[in-house]
């Protein structure tokens, strides 16, 4: 529990050993250092990053800088982040004026994304903190501002798990039937859906027992099986086990998060947030975006997958020169240009799963694909007739179009983009289960599986919460937040000074340092400052005084009881200590619970409240005592200014 400060018998009353002062000074110096980035402003900047692990090469960088120089746009500085072998994956260029920033973005975009087919880079407008380089190198960063302070859109998307489960249930039905018909002799029975699984009924006990054994062998890793009887007939309940259910849900969330990320990337938003929340929700925050209708259109657009045959006979070179045969489309792919028929052989709706795995014989990384029954029979027909031709897998997604209106970059619409994600050779006839091989590396197979799944849309999402905060409201909120902090803070300082005189001044110093420390800890933690967060800070200021009040009232009491001033100080601080600790711990309990259970604004408030409790204990107990010790320690004091 709380131990009174150890007796320092060697030292005179009210003096700290030197190391304590050193400690206090070091802590405070660090606090000032890491709170400092917040006082520097922000520069308009252009943030360039590659999509899907694409790097920005040195050559491209040179081109961009040349384009800027030609148009007379001079960046204040260019920062390169995460440097790899082939280039960098993030570039931040700062400019002095927003007009330059807009122009620079356009120019950079023209260099990096010359055609609509090949958009592999995001160029986004951003505000980059103008923290001095030496400070940034030490890890100094300003606090992030929440959406309510900078404007933007917040979406909470719910993933429709019922759909994901239903797909798996359909799959289960087919798998069960497959397993039972594969047996020799094949087992006959009836299959009907039940919650999270299937109910199978059989004509006799023997069939049921054989079925149980076969099903157990084939699916024990994901199915709970239960043999029983219903209405005189033997039945088997086969339900997805907990692990599998969780896996389905995680997959559905993960898939949607990936899809949302790629769409948000195409929106060109700097610092977007896409995060899982709870069991089946995803939070999407788009700072700076104002048009919620278009944002919704982009986020909500469904990507679709199509399997289409590659035209192997046509003249690709001719097509590149504009002679594209009718009913064909030319695609630029990583294997060079190919012509693909418009006709869709199998659509992505039929895809039930795509996973990265290994070939059991060669141990090579491959992608295993599963289609539903209808898709399987279509695939059989297509592949039987087209062995040794290539099958293109095409992902169709909508892509936003931007334009510059009144010097601002605005979203004006969207268009459909088609992309070949893979075009493997058809090596033989196959149906609902097949694998894609092709000297892949393991990350490549994972990427391909993810792309295939993203076109299948295993579980649709819908918006359950939406908040748009206008840019003006954001600025107003910052203004009001700062005003109320300043006013509240000044009132408390004035009151303390009048009420406790010199000791009040000490408390005020401690209180101000407390504010610096809160800002420092929040900056270091990378916590986001929101309006409720500011309220938390204001409230902490009010409550942080409490520790000092407790101490000072105690000192006054000791004085009234006839203690000598030096002793009154010592006893006042000593006695108040455990009370302060108890009082703060209980408030901390409330803050932790708020943080654990709350979401959004409640969390923001809880974080600042909690940090404030910790820092206020440090400043009120150690710092204020240190100052008082410096003033009164080690000498005879006749009267205290309290």
């Amino acid at each position: 529990m709380f131990v009174n400060q150890p007796n320092q018998q060697q030292l005179p009353i009210n003096t700290y050993p030197k190391w304590k002062y050193v400690l206090i000074i070091v802590v405070l110096a660090l606090a000032f250092l890491y709170a400092a980035p917040n006082i520097f402003g922000k520069d308009p900047a252009v943030q360039i990053s590659g999509l899907r692990d694409t790097m920005v090469t040195q050559q491209q960088l040179d081109q961009i800088q040349k384009a800027w120089a030609d148009e007379g746009v001079t960046p204040l500085s260019i920062d390169l982040a995460t440097i790899g072998e082939q280039g960098v994956n993030k570039v931040i260029a700062r400019f002095s004026k927003p007009a330059e920033q807009l122009k620079a973005r356009e120019l950079a975009n023209d260099v990096l994304n010359p055609t609509l087919e090949n958009q592999n880079y995001v160029t986004a407008l951003n505000l980059a903190p103008s923290t001095p380089r030496w400070l940034a190198n030490l890890g100094g960063e300003p606090m992030k501002l929440g959406l309510d302070l900078r404007g933007g859109i917040h979406f909470l998307m719910q993933v429709d798990m019922d759909q994901a489960l239903k797909r798996q249930q359909d799959q289960l039905r087919r798998d069960f039937i497959d397993t039972l018909t594969e047996q020799n002799p094949s087992i006959r029975g009836r299959v009907e859906p039940i919650e999270n699984g299937m109910l199978l009924s059989f004509r006799n006990q023997e069939d049921a027992e054989r079925a149980y054994e076969a099903l157990f062998k084939a699916h024990a890793d994901r199915i709970d099986l239960q043999l029983s009887e219903k209405g005189g007939r033997p039945i088997i309940r086969g339900t997805l086990n907990k692990q599998k259910l969780q896996e389905i849900k995680d997959h559905a969330i993960d898939q949607n998060r990936v899809i949302l990320s790629s769409r948000v990337n195409s929106l060109g938003v700097a610092e977007p947030l896409i995060q899982r929340q709870g069991a089946d929700r995803i939070v999407v925050q788009l700072p700076g975006v104002q048009d919620s209708a278009l944002a919704k259109q982009i986020l909500g657009a469904t990507a679709s997958l199509e399997f289409r045959l590659v035209n192997e006979e046509a003249d690709v070179v001719g097509a590149q020169n504009g002679r594209i045969p009718p009913g064909n489309k030319l695609f630029d792919t990583e294997y060079g240009p190919i012509l693909v028929y418009d006709e869709v052989e199998v659509s992505g709706d039929h895809l039930t799963n795509a996973t990265a795995t290994y070939d059991p014989q060669t141990n090579e990384p491959i992608v295993s694909v599963r289609l539903d029954g209808e898709g399987g029979s279509k695939m059989t027909r297509t592949t039987a007739a087209n062995v040794n031709k290539r099958l293109a897998m095409i992902l169709k997604e909508s892509r936003p179009i931007f334009d510059i209106v009144d010097g601002k970059r605005v979203l004006v619409g969207s268009e459909l983009e088609e992309r070949v994600i893979s075009a493997p050779n058809i090596n033989g006839t196959f149906g609902s289960r097949f694998t894609i091989t092709g000297r892949f590396t393991e990350p490549e197979t994972r990427d391909l599986a993810r792309k295939l799944r993203s076109g299948a849309l295993i579980a649709p999402t819908f918006i359950v919460e939406e908040r748009t905060i206008g840019a003006t409201l954001g600025e107003e909120n910052i203004q009001k937040g700062i005003t109320s902090v300043i006013i509240g803070f000044s009132l408390v300082l004035a009151f303390m000074l009048v009420y406790y005189k010199l000791f009040g001044l000490v408390a005020n110093v401690a209180l101000s340092l407390n504010l610096v420390m809160i800002v420092c800890v929040m900056s270091l933690m990378g916590a986001t400052l929101t309006l409720p967060g500011i309220a938390g800070i204001v409230l902490t200021v009010g409550m942080a005084v409490d520790a000092n009040v407790l101490i000072f009232e105690r000192i006054r009491e000791e004085l009234r009881a006839g203690a000598r001033p030096a002793q009154a100080i010592d006893k006042g601080y000593g006695h108040a200590l455990s009370t302060i600790a108890d009082a703060n711990i209980t408030t901390a309990i409330a803050a932790i619970i708020l943080f654990a259970i709350g979401t959004g604004p409640v969390k923001g408030f809880a974080i600042t409240l909690f940090i404030g409790i910790l820092t206020s204990m440090f400043t009120a107990i150690f710092v204020s005592r240190g100052i008082v010790n410096l003033m009164y320690g080690g000498r005879t004091v006749k009267k205290l200014s309290i």
Binding site: Q290, G481, L539
Partner: protein, 312 residues
Amino acid sequence: MQILNKETNIDFLKLRKLALALSVLLIIGSLTSFFTKGLNYGLDFTGGTLIEVGYEQDADIPKIHEQLDGIGIEGAIVQNFGSASIVQIRMPQQDHIENAVVGDEVLAALRADGLTVIKRDQSFVGPVIGEELKEMGGLAMLVALICIMIYVALRFEWKFSVGSVIALAHDVILIIGFFSITEVEFDLTVLAALLAIIGYSLNDTIVVFDRIRENFLRMRKGSSEEVVNTSLNQTLSRTLMTSITTMLVLLALFFYGGQTIHSFAEALIVGVLVGTYSSIYVASPMALLLGVKKEDLMPPEVEKEGEEFDTP
């Protein structure tokens, strides 16, 4: 300067019957209002769509109503928000329009006749979220009370623990009653304020309890009542001081913090008042009523070395 420049000697406990009656009365009133009238839940809890728009001139509210009727919006509440040119429109779940697009359609309708309408804020909250939030709020409150009860029981004694939790429940009920009777909007930030009040009010109570414990050990002769009364007097100026400083910042938030945290500040202001009252008139008298006495608070035997250890 001192508010109380001498040691006070107010007989707080003389008034405890009166205070008890007052508290019971207020609790009954609060609960009655809560169960009959309910709370004016904000969008966070009810679900629906809220849109805040700014006009270049004063907003024509009847016309806005017409425009909303024109696109089939039902049950909309249109009101000025802070200024005559800013309007807030709140709509419940719509049957005929998909909820996710209500805000966008309303904006389009308001802009239809060529007026410049600036969208300041737009929110849509689905019906499930609101229900979850109420559950979450109740749960958070319950968990906080239980954790605090355990902590106080460990640090002090179960009678104090019960006394403090009754005081906290008292505070929460009165604040909810205040929001029910005055019909001030009860939103997510008010919920956060309620939890902050639990922390704050407890803070006050703990300080008093701490002094009671100390005085039980010091004042060998006094009766339990005398000890409690002395303790309340000794901590009175601290209680008032902290309430005043906290109140100062809350007033700053209330008047200058903007509409978004208005309800939050209001809840905390009421909470600080109620919390200060309850730590004097509810928590300690409750502990007394439960028969707290000197023996309950004797410290456990301490090891000879003179150090304190964590009690297991």
